[in-house]
Subunit: 268 residues, 2 copies
Amino acid sequence: MNKLIKAIQNKNSYLCVGLDASPIYWSQDIPSNVQGLEYFCKSIIEATQDYTIAYKLNLAFFEVWGHEGLETMNRILEFIPHDIFTVADAKRSDIGHSASFYAKTFFETYNFDSITVNPYMGKDSIEPFLEYKDKITFLLGLTSNEGAEDFQLMGDPPFYEQVIRKSMLWNIHNNIGFVMGATRPNAIQTLRNIYPKAPLLIPGIGAQSGDLAKTIQNAYYKDTPMLITISRAILYADTSKNFLQKAKEKALNYYQEISQILHELSLS
Amino acid sequence: MNKLIKAIQNKNSYLCVGLDASPIYWSQDIPSNVQGLEYFCKSIIEATQDYTIAYKLNLAFFEVWGHEGLETMNRILEFIPHDIFTVADAKRSDIGHSASFYAKTFFETYNFDSITVNPYMGKDSIEPFLEYKDKITFLLGLTSNEGAEDFQLMGDPPFYEQVIRKSMLWNIHNNIGFVMGATRPNAIQTLRNIYPKAPLLIPGIGAQSGDLAKTIQNAYYKDTPMLITISRAILYADTSKNFLQKAKEKALNYYQEISQILHELSLS
């Protein structure tokens, strides 16, 4: 948690780059194999590290390469500068007995600073993660996808709100955060009313077209960390040989835009 | 699906052995490393394959070893006789874009016959799995753990029932199944009333102490596959050098017990 707060203070930003790397999208000059995966991710990290406070690694994009993908992921993870926060976007869930093995996987086998977890299986599926007191466990709050309407928004009050309220009772180490899609700004406001100081991980800006200014305004709470995750809009801003130059420009643009919004918020 | 139905017919059983392998539990004569993991799982497969129609591999127990654990898992998967059905107990969930990479991981990178999936993120998080028409995707129905009461059993009708009803609408390829904990026999009955022909994956017998006869009675529907998963009660029936002999005996006991229950059901 301290590492994240420090990173935010140092760079005065919330920008988190999501490394959703796939040969389906990346430049044709990069080979479609794990060597390409490593080259692409490390290049993106070099190009964007001055403007980002965190990198989010979505496990799906590494697991698809089999065990070599995981080996590569670990090298990429170790390549990230130590003052930059890391998120394992794994959305894991299992009964307590198995969940403890997942917690060990991401916090010990791999040394991630945080993880995303699906809370649907309840308290015992979450607790093994929370026992790592110096790590942040982001529970799914309200996700950015269309399918969130199927179950998370069902009921009155909506189901996701009941999940947030109940999980507060488990937050004895103050290390629970929430994933809140930028595509649903009102829900972010609701969460902030219930739970002012929860760290937030916010996907849905960029390719999923959430509104950046509105999102930060609703999610802002003094001295409380949030991560605005942008993946495809930076990684694939250009798919020619110049992709790194363009990714760097895009990251800088988002960085400046966030700084500007933050500046206006602190004045108001 | 056909492979599973055939396996059930051939052996007249529903027994699925869960390979939840960890040095915390296995015999001290086996080394605490990935070589031990491979030896333990392959030995258990050899000892139990005559009595089982399926093996369930919980990803947590392989991922915890890092990339070497996944490499080992793939060798174990390939070691399973081809007429025995396989389940990736992965409980994955993500937005459609990422979910398609998970589907590819388990159905192509690794050649599993089925997977468990957490439905909480809704339709687009499930669809990429369903597109593999010849594979079974087991959605979490009502899980066997205590935490199931936190959210899955919330509301009236309970939330899990609403999940089952809605997901039926997505079942255009008839390849959705459900995970239903044996610790909740009434819920299995409810599911069978809503959805008579859904394949079921039923954990919770053995270490979690669900009732075998009651479970099968409630879950039975003619020509409809179900898997009764038993993990720790077989794998760790004995933790001495004789663990294989004891695991074999235990598997045979469960096999015979299931056959007996099935025999009585077919007579009634």
